[in-house]
């Protein structure tokens, strides 16, 4: 029995047993359902083995929505626990696990795949390409991310969740103070997902640099593509740091090395430094594509070209450079002295300048426009004021001497939610409504959509504004409870009410998807929003080859140019199209990675060795394989095009 003991949850409760049962039942139901409807073949052919960037994008979207609810349940539990003083809903250990997984799930397994969804679905269409540069690598990226996310999530019911915070500072995350396998899950699951992200970065830089439509110079790229390019450059430079860091953490926990230990030269703050050398650029990996989405949406619904295109690009480049020079502002209180703090204080505040340029450019894009309030536009217009609040509190936090008072308090928690929710989450929701018709051929209901946007915003203000005050009143973050005398009760209760309203908002999104799937009209054009860029110039639904003829471009708003100035995008005859073949290797290899990770977490070395050989076997197989892809004949293209035009 000793062997099986290690898989038990070290600190079980009714909630954990209930979720075990729920997860088990869901898995059985899904498997039974697929078998009953005889969909295994379809699933394998059309999804598990696909290398089509659009389908991979949709799989990213589904994973992100799933994880949004996992992280959301964590959030609502935390707010419920803190709603009244001395609450006993959760104990300290559970609370610690929940805020840890909330952070990781939301950043790495919700926001990242959501961004990946947009990059996958939109970038090739926006630059007039037929797929990404390395379609099969793209599939591998997705499946590695997916397996990493799943591996991380089973920690809840097998062996215990990580409990040292999403930042996982050592020595707290070391063996001595974090005894369950939870932190091993953190190290390995994020490592696997991170490898996937790194490959995405390489893939999309190559795609954007090499596969743009004829005539599309760099300065004629749509703004979202620009933001994706810059975000991917940051990925390529930041994620290797994370890989090394997690490897060192694993070595410390499982192989007894002395990187972050408390004796023999180990250095605890080394973890914090390297973590934020990755971690700060990471938040720009999320926010820059979000800025790109807002740029597309604001320009579309102001019915005007984006103001200050060049300064938009320039500011993103500057932000990406500065993002690597500010990491120490996450621990001004480490005692590194006034000089170091001053330098990092100034570099941090400097980021406000290019970010301000972007805000003013969006405002000036509205000027002389003809603003239409659709749901995506409503999210964007709520984004500007709310994000500005988050931005200015960021400047306040950058004042290092004052940060001694903000650090580790709810003020900080309020700040980063105030930039991430209006900045990133709203962009995703806006983009979801915006691109939904292109993906599925019908619109999401506008009325429900607008209700959702308002509910989320009211909930957001109620949930997070009180935290600024309670932080200044001495409420440290990550406290699982507080005494009545502390006087945080009312503020935390307001936060809980706000969180509950946000929860209703997120449920409404699901309802909207259900409602629109049933009732919304399928009779929409290829360009339902009267948009300006190339992704709207192809058919809805998008054929697998994206464009029957590759477009020729002469403006950064290629479709608008075609609509208003009569520029002909698609010139010439159909030619046969070369497409990559589907492949099961990425999926199988990622499954092996899953088993590898699981065995590694529990230090089961024999399966680790076997699966390592399996992974290299897959790579060898790929090396020897000869796969030159396939061709879609002119006849097939003609048939598809006629059908799509008819419909």
């Amino acid at each position: 029995m000793d062997f099986f003991d290690r898989f038990a949850v070290p600190h079980p409760s009714v909630a954990i047993y209930a979720s075990m049962a729920a997860i088990g039942l869901t898995v059985i139901a899904v498997i039974a359902g697929i078998t009953y409807f005889k969909k295994w073949g379809y699933l394998w052919r059309e999804w598990l083995t696909t290398v089509d960037h659009k389908r991979i994008g949709i799989m990213y979207l589904l994973s992100a929505l799933l994880m949004l609810f996992r992280g959301g349940v964590d959030a609502i539990m935390m707010r419920a626990q803190l709603a009244v003083p001395e609450n006993t809903l959760l104990d300290a250990q559970h609370y610690n696990e929940i805020f840890t997984t909330h952070g990781i799930v939301m950043i790495l397994f919700m926001a990242m795949p959501f961004i990946m969804f947009f990059m996958n679905f939109v970038v090739p269409l926006q630059i007039g390409a037929r797929d990404v540069a390395f379609p099969r690598l793209n599939a591998l990226s997705f499946w590695l991310f997916f397996m990493g996310a799943m591996l991380f999530n089973i920690s809840f019911v097998v062996g215990g969740s990580p409990d040292a915070g999403w930042t996982s500072y050592f020595p707290l995350a070391g063996n001595e103070f974090s005894t369950s396998v939870g932190t091993n899950y953190y190290m390995i699951a994020i490592q696997i997902a991170g490898i996937g992200t790194l490959m995405t970065g390489i893939n999309f830089i190559t795609t954007i640099l090499k596969m743009r439509a004829p005539g599309m110079t760099l300065m004629k790229m749509p703004m979202f593509t620009w933001s994706a390019l810059i975000a991917n450059v940051i990925i390529v430079f930041a994620f290797p740091v994370l890989a090394v860091l997690l490897a060192m953490g694993t070595l410390d926990r499982q192989f007894g090395t002395q990187f972050f230990t408390m004796d023999n030269g180990g250095m605890d703050m080394l973890w914090a430094n390297l973590f934020w050398v990755w971690g700060h650029p990471e938040v720009y990996i999320l926010i820059l594509p979000a800025f790109g989405i807002y740029s597309e949406i604001i320009s579309t619904f102001a019915r005007r070209n984006l103001y200050g295109y060049k300064s938009m690009v320039g500011s993103m480049v500057i932000i990406s450079l500065l993002s690597f020079l500010v990491w120490a502002h996450h621990f001004f209180t480490m005692g590194q002295g006034a000089l170091t703090n001053s330098i990092f204080s100034i570099t941090t505040m400097a980021i406000a300048v290019p970010t301000g340029v972007k805000i003013f450019n969006w405002l000036l894009t509205l000027r002389k426009g003809k603003i239409v309030f659709t749901t995506p536009m409503l999210y964007s217009m709520l984004f500007i004021p709310l994000f500005t609040l988050g931005g200015v509190t960021g400047v306040m936090l950058a004042m290092s001497a004052a940060d001694y008072q903000y650090h580790n308090t709810m003020f900080l928690v309020a700040h980063f939610h105030n930039v991430i929710i209006p900045g990133v989450v709203y962009a995703m929701l806006a983009g979801l409504h915006y691109y939904w018709p292109k993906m599925f051929g019908f619109m999401l209901n506008e009325k429900i959509g607008k209700w959702t946007a308002w509910l989320l915003s009211i909930g957001f203000v109620l949930a997070f504004m009180p935290m600024y005050a309670s932080g200044l009143d001495g409420q440290a973050r990550r406290m699982y409870t507080y005494s009545e005398a502390a006087g945080f009760g009312l503020l935390n209760m307001i936060s809980f009410v706000g969180a509950a309203i946000m929860a209703i908002g997120f449920v409404l999104i699901v309802y909207n998807i259900y409602y629109s799937t049933r009732y919304e009209s399928r009779d929409i054009s290829n360009d339902p929003w009267d948009a300006r860029t190339l992704e709207w110039s192809t058919h809805t639904p998008v054929p697998e080859y994206n464009f029957a003829i590759l477009p020729e471009v002469r403006s950064n708003e290629a479709l608008w140019d075609a609509k208003k100035n009569g520029h002909v995008l698609f010139k010439g005859e159909y030619e046969k199209i070369h497409m990559p073949n589907n492949s099961g290797i990425p999926f199988i290899m990622s499954c092996i990675f899953f088993v590898w990770g699981f065995s590694f977490i529990f230090s089961l070395w024999i399966p680790v060795i076997v699966t390592t050989l399996g992974i290299f076997g897959c790579m060898a197989l790929r090396s020897f394989e000869q796969d030159h892809g396939r061709y879609i004949s002119v006849k097939e293209i003609e048939e598809t095009e006629t059908n799509l035009r008819g419909a």
């Binding site: 390489i202 190559t206 994620f239 060192m248 002395q258 023999n264 030269g265 090396s623 020897f624």
Partner: protein, 198 residues
């Protein structure tokens, strides 16, 4: 498949040029990976705890051997690519095989070196310094090992399929990788060994 004959074969198709650019970007990521290891090394180099310092365990002889072996192998892989460009398959295979043999010899000396360290009480668990030293060297060694098998597969493919756009592309990318490992080694040699021995 369109082949552009004005370019070397390994660049000949669009897919090939994508792969070469992609690999250069990958090398950018690798530079960050080793840069992180070096930064950590410099941070921890004096934190030896109860363990030995670099000066106490570094020995010039095996390190010089390793350096000569790896530098030579970088030269031979270059000759292999030259042979490939002028279409001499046999010479190319010979040079690639020589490269891999030199790589194997490098690994042999490195394993001997590790064995000596552990024997002298400088195992990976001894101190922060030995942890990062062995992790940095080990990461480089793991890259060489991976490169060995990769190179082997490419030789087998060239043997079987001849010099096609695909095989030459793979061989060329492999040579980039191998040169990169050599550059990393030069940094390890200068900043870890020489600086540590001084």
């Amino acid at each position: 498949m369109k082949i552009d004959n004005s370019l070397p074969l390994e660049y000949g198709t669009e897919e090939n040029s994508l792969k070469i650019l992609g690999f250069w970007i990958f090398l950018g990521a690798e530079i960050m990976l080793f840069a992180t290891l070096f930064a950590t090394y410099f941070t921890l180099v004096n934190r030896t705890g109860s363990g030995p310092t670099g000066a106490e365990i570094f020995q010039i002889t095996p390190v010089l051997f390793e350096t000569i072996l790896l530098l030579t192998s970088s030269f031979t892989v270059g000759l292999g690519i030259h042979a490939m460009r002028i279409g001499r398959q046999k010479a190319m295979i010979a040079f690639f095989s020589l490269t891999l043999l030199l790589g194997l010899a490098f690994l042999g000396v490195e394993i001997f070196e590790f064995y000596t360290y552990v024997h002298e009480g400088a195992g990976i668990q001894t101190s922060a310094f030995t942890s990062i030293l062995l992790t940095t060297l080990g990461t480089h060694g793991a890259h060489v090992t991976l490169g060995f098998f990769w190179g082997l597969f490419i030789i087998l493919q060239v043997k079987k399929r001849g010099l096609t756009p695909q095989t030459t592309n793979k061989a060329f990318i492999f040579s980039l990788y191998w040169h990169f490992l050599d550059v990393v080694w030069i940094f390890i040699f200068s900043f870890i060994y020489l600086k540590g021995m001084m």
